[in-house]
């Protein structure tokens, strides 16, 4: 009978399980999980290993001196990097259009007239059709008085554009109803003496005329060619509640493509080049042609060149490998969009620009495992495990499948999908027990990055959003959950969550500091998970499946931190259902959930 501990040094966590090996077999005792110290596969791991071993023994109610053997995995660090590049931009020239969505425009309807500066209102003649442009800093009482005076004189005031957030205040104080758009930050740049149209829709509705190319043509009396030229304006104004369009001789709105550069993907036999501007789908198709990829690089002097170079530099820094030796083993490209302020806009208008996010992965050589094992044994002996022997046990993937197979209801052929932070790793154990593995780039970190950029939030907020469902605190005593149900509370909720969208994290309600609705945040979150985890699950399975046929896989067991996610396993299972695959979150040894597979596998392989 001997007391052993299996230890799995992972990229982010170190897991251990303690067991008694007897003549009858293995009796598992406790287990432990701690953050990995240092880069996986280096002697800096020792602290984490010690902590994990202690934790496993503590939960087994045993002490270090009784420990006889420790099995550690052959740790191959997988290092990953992320980058993102915007590939389009929207430009407005000569201030043709103000299409933003102030929270509170005033009045309603459509008004067409000539733009006149507020200071020059006195000089307008009766009957003149006027759109008045009021700079920032003039009090609403002064504005209302002057507008009423002009109306009194018979000036045909058709609409107003304000710098301040005063539209409702002014609308409430003047003697006629006109559309008023406010909070136009650069109101002083609105061209004067030009024909302009102001449109405000009733609350809850969106504008109809200025967002319609023929509406614009009608308002500004345009011919067919001119209408074609202004159609981007109409498109840009779709779905908002208020807008101003000024007709200037050469103003325009354009969607510009930023040259993002060419990506060079090197396979075993061929090399393909692909323009990043063509988007994720094209990049992934090109990648499929060269798989297995040997390395990737970007055209020097372009955005993508800088992007891949920085990923490699980062990896070289982290791993201590010479920069020239860093080879990108896999890429995942995802189309995304980034809310960015429109260049040339006058009111801080925001357009959703297209962007491509890239996750890259480097599989480094084996770490100095012998040294790590030596350091572990020295440490444990010093700490009281005088007799301990540390053994490097088996290939990680083999151990993972062995551990995963302890999940009740599984059998070979079985694929373990380890959903990590930087990469998604798959290992197949076929009917004969032969093992093959594949690592693909992109996992939890990329999801966080996509959520952060699409919602315009900090990464720590994005991390919270990723991990838990959403709700809105509609009062101090109830939450409306994202599925529409309501949860009541006896004690009032904390003040900082009131009226806000919150994340229901395990120990607290975390308010999300953005204006987006629950539905919108939820959609971004789920789409990001789809585009990373579901795509990668399929990608990995296709590479590893016998005969590249997914139907040849019987069972998929999800492991790793993201297998504990509240919706990722479900999203993947849905995607795999059509192939007749049984897919679910692992439950190692029937008790550990998706944790401890490698550690358990190490012990089992020695019994």
């Amino acid at each position: 009978m001997s007391l052993v501990v299996g230890v799995d040094i992972g990229n982010s966590t170190t897991e251990a399980c303690a067991a008694l090996i007897t003549a009858e077999g293995v009796e598992f005792l406790g287990s432990g999980l701690v953050p990995t110290t240092g880069i996986k596969g280096t002697t800096a791991n020792v602290d984490g290993v010690e902590a994990a071993v202690r934790a496993a023994l503590r939960t087994s109610r045993l002490a270090l001196p009784a420990l006889q053997r420790v099995f550690v995995n052959e740790a191959t660090p997988v290092i990953s990097g992320l980058a993102m590049e915007t590939i389009t931009e929207t430009l407005i020239t000569e201030s043709t259009m103000i299409g933003h969505d102030p929270r509170t425009p005033g009045g309603a309807g459509l008004g067409v007239g000539v733009t006149v500066a507020f200071g020059e209102l006195d000089e307008c003649s009766p009957g003149e059709k006027v759109i008045v442009v009021v700079p920032v800093g003039i009090d609403f009482a002064v504005v209302s008085k002057a507008l009423n005076a002009a109306l009194e004189r018979g000036v045909d005031l058709r609409g107003a554009v304000l710098g301040n957030d005063d539209a409702v205040l002014v609308a409430n104080r003047i003697s006629c109803s006109i559309p008023i758009v406010d909070e136009v930050r650069l109101v002083s740049s609105v061209p004067l003496g030009m024909t302009a149209a102001v449109e405000v829709a009733a609350p809850g509705r969106t504008i109809r005329t200025l967002s319609n190319a023929y509406g614009l043509a009608t308002v500004f009396e345009l011919n067919a060619d001119q209408t074609r030229a202004v159609s981007p304006v109409a498109r840009a104004l779709t779905g908002i509640r208020s807008a101003v369009v000024v007709r200037t001789p050469s103003g325009e709105v354009s969607d510009r493509h930023i040259p993002a550069g060419t990506l060079e993907l090197g396979g075993e036999t061929s090399t393909v080049r692909i323009d990043v501007g063509e988007g994720a789908e094209a990049i992934m198709a090109a990648l499929a042609r060269v798989t297995p990829m040997k390395d990737a690089s970007g055209e020097a002097g372009t955005n993508v060149g800088g992007m891949l170079a920085s990923v490699k530099e980062n990896m070289a820094d982290v791993s201590g490998v010479d920069l020239a030796e860093v080879r990108i083993g896999d890429l995942l490209a995802v189309d995304t969009f980034v809310p960015q302020e429109v260049r040339g806009g006058l009111a801080g208008e925001v357009a959703l620009e297209n962007a491509v996010a890239l996750a890259a992965m480097v599989r480094t050589s084996h770490g100095p495992m012998q040294q790590v094992a030596l350091a572990i044994s020295q440490r444990l002996r010093r700490e009281g495990a005088a007799e301990v022997e540390v053994v490097i046990g088996g290939v990680e993937a083999e151990m993972a499948t062995r551990g995963a197979l302890t999940t009740p209801g599984t059998d070979r052929p079985l694929v373990v999908l380890d959903l990590g932070g930087g990469s998604t790793d798959a290992a197949l154990a076929d009917r004969s027990g032969a093992i093959s593995t594949v690592h693909v780039a992109g996992a939890g970190d990329l999801v966080t990055r996509l959520i952060a950029s699409e919602l315009g939030v900090e990464r720590d907020v994005a991390e919270e959003i990723k991990q838990s469902p959403l709700a809105k605190a509609e009062s101090f005593f109830h939450l409306r959950l994202e599925d529409g149900t309501v949860q009541f509370f006896e004690e009032p909720l904390p003040p900082e969550v009131f009226a806000r969208v919150v994340v229901l994290s395990t120990d607290a309600l975390v308010p999300i500091p953005v204006r987006h609705s629950v539905d919108r945040i939820r959609q971004v979150r789920r789409t990001a998970k789809q585009r990373v985890f579901v795509v990668n699950a399929l990608r990995a399975l296709k590479q590893i499946a016998p005969y590249r046929d997914l139907r040849q896989i019987g069972f998929v067991v999800l492991l790793g931190g993201s297998a504990l996610d509240f919706e990722i396993p479900e999203l993947i299972a849905d995607a795999l259902a059509p192939y007749g695959i049984v897919c679910g979150t692992g439950n190692v040894r029937g008790s550990e959930g998706p944790r401890n597979a490698v550690a358990s596998g190490l012990v089992l392989s020695r019994s």
Partner: protein, 184 residues
Amino acid sequence: MNVLELREIGRAEKGARPDEVVLALSPGFATFFTKTIVDVPHSEVVRQILAGIEEQGVQARVIQVKARADLAAMAHTAARLSGSGIGIGVLARGTSMIHQKDLPRLSSLELFPQSPLMTPEVFRAIGRNAAQYAKGESPQPVPTLNDQMARPRWQAKAALLHLKECELLVKGAPPVEVEPVLTA
């Protein structure tokens, strides 16, 4: 400069409209005192807060508290009288708070503790945010400013203003609803 007169209408009652915000003014507001610690006229304070509320399409009622000069208690009184459950409290020196009826009294939705940093723009933003809370929207909290040198300049004057305002308390007097009348 505008002059603010608070015409008493009667005892402040609980409102029924779900789209109202109640603004509670301290005993010395526009009575003994005429301006905040940094000389923003009280007429302007009220005008800006009411404008912030009106711009959001929300109704406002104004009350004057007689028995307390404790900001949290005042703002909480306003919130409890408000049909929406959202109230604002403002002390004569400018310190302000947005409160909600279900919160414990000593808590708040937004607190503006540094009276020397209260400008007309901040008062407008307070009105705007309170109205947005009343509508069930999620306003961005008004950024709280900080100035390390406020202590040497204003700490003692703020204490003095507070002590003076405490002298004006009428024990047991209920809050009254007032109509703010601004005259040039």
